[in-house]
């Protein structure tokens, strides 16, 4: 692990601030997105951004365990997206209850 100071520390701060703004923007799309699929795509991006945030934070504090957490987060995001996609298709074919 190299020393985190100077330009790297600056880059980490910029990254954390930018990713926070990007997560807020994606959450705005979750609130607004006209269809359920839009919301799922937005939550997918929130998961990717949280993965990036965790990885950057791991570099900041020098704790490599956070990278494992990012990996697990990506796995959960994929499973959730697939589950909701199947749900939307079943709602269309009338197999599941529609609540809207």
């Amino acid at each position: 692990m190299i020393a985190v100071d100077g330009p790297l520390l600056w880059a980490i701060y910029v990254t954390l601030a930018t990713l926070s703004l990007a997560i807020l923007g994606a959450l705005f799309r979750v609130l607004r997105g006209p269809s359920l699929a839009d919301r799922v795509v937005a939550l997918d991006l929130v998961a990717y951004l949280a993965m990036g945030f965790l990885t950057t934070y791991a570099v900041l504090v020098g704790e490599e365990t956070f990278i494992d957490a990012a990996l697990v987060l990506g796995l959960l995001a994929f499973l959730g997206t697939v589950a909701v996609a199947r749900y939307i298709e079943r709602v269309r074919s009338g197999e599941a209850l529609v609540d809207s």
């Binding site: 330009p7 923007g25 990885t55 570099v59 990506g74 997206t81 996609a85 298709e89």
Partner: protein, 134 residues
Amino acid sequence: MIAAVAGVLMLLGTAFMMVAAVGLLRLPDLYTRMHAVTKAGTLGIGFVLVSAAVAFGDVSVATRAVVAILFVLFTAPVSAHMIGRAGYLGNVSLWEGTSFDDWRAGYDDLQREGGGTVSEHGVGREDSPAARSH
């Protein structure tokens, strides 16, 4: 030197993820938003993870970063495909500026062709000498 490389990679990844978020907010319909999120998001995550691997300079961290990158590269297209398909089948409307709809243009013909082939096949089998002899 290593710190500079890690910092540049990290900022590059951040720029890609910012592009993904802006695309999600600004693009007009589900399908264009999905393409922004999948492509830019995947590249952004990849750059940030490579930056972490460079900063730690450690085989175990590099291995986990490579595994995470491969995982995202394999799953992002799959989930985007499933969501796009579900959205299309769920009648999420396309942007009015869409130049053509490949599925609508080709899928109905494909269905008809497939059905025709199956029925012809069935008729052919009934009339075939092998079917008559049984």
